[in-house]
Symmetry: C2
Subunit: 170 residues, 2 copies
């Protein structure tokens, strides 16, 4: 490997131009394309097969993992959406009888939301289909690809979180 050449090129550039990050940019664009492609397909199929929206499905997926329910703030954090977003979303799901809402026993400011029995039943049906759809969309990957990507995405998640938190904490 010609490290000298790399170093010389890098130094030659550093004097007049900023570092080149085209590879990372291309990676990001491709990641985004894949995410949009998959998310769009899931969104469409959820609507066509179950007359349900993706945000509602995502919300139910979080509640499905917490049998005792959770507060709105906790839900917002896990879903990575703003608090205000949940107010209306939860309201509609409560109206539809899929989510229950009760005051927190320990904190009079907070509300605990949870899946109703009907909500859990509906979610489970959708989740089974959803799992199949994801597998179908990723059918072109072999186990090695899945494992490799899982590992690299783990690193990316850490890296991105560190950079993102720098903005907020300070």
């Amino acid at each position: 490997m010609s490290d000298d050449q790399v170093t010389l090129d890098a130094e030659a550039k550093a004097l007049e131009a900023p570092a080149d990050h085209k590879d990372e940019l291309r990676l990001w664009l491709r990641l985004l394309t894949c995410a949009n492609l998959i998310e769009g397909t899931v969104r469409r199929r959820l609507r066509e097969s179950f007359d349900e929206t993706l945000p509602r499905f995502d919300l139910m997926a979080q509640l499905d993992r917490a049998s005792d329910g959770m507060t709105l703030s906790e839900l917002a954090q896990r879903m990575m959406v703003s608090n205000g977003n949940l107010t209306a979303l939860v309201e509609r799901l409560v109206e539809a009888g899929q989510v229950s809402r009760r005051a927190s026993p320990s904190d009079r400011r907070a509300q605990v939301v949870a899946l109703t029995q009907a909500g859990r039943r509906a979610f489970r049906r959708m989740a089974d289909a959803h799992e199949e759809w994801i597998a179908e969309l990723m059918a072109g990957l072999n186990q090695r690809d899945v494992d490799d990507m899982m590992r690299i995405l783990g690193k990316m998640k850490l890296s991105a979180r560190r950079a993102a938190e720098k903005d907020i904490v300070s």
Copy 2:
């Protein structure tokens, strides 16, 4: 390799349970987490540094690559958003003087949109910062990670597109 064992297990399962696709599901959730983390950071910084929104930036990015502009339909397809979505988005950018809009010479239904000079100038400033942000968010990856992931995402893109198009073409 014990193919027999694999086959037996698979057959034993097939009788009572559907195939297990947990790995793909986990991969999808992690991919989504990364995408949301990065996209959210970019969105916030665009607003804080340039008082600009991500959809507007994305639109300008597409136009930056087509110096002669393109029609709304072509733009919608490249951005992977609905046509109706663009009407208002373009309208606001035209108002802001960043995008121009003219009738297509060859098709009286169509309009061609393009960046104005001011729009191009503004976009270039933002794009430089954006490239740095992406590199920072992905700083935890080495070149090998970037290359590996790029390759696997290429496979995923093909795979997802095939599955997605199955729904629509029919």
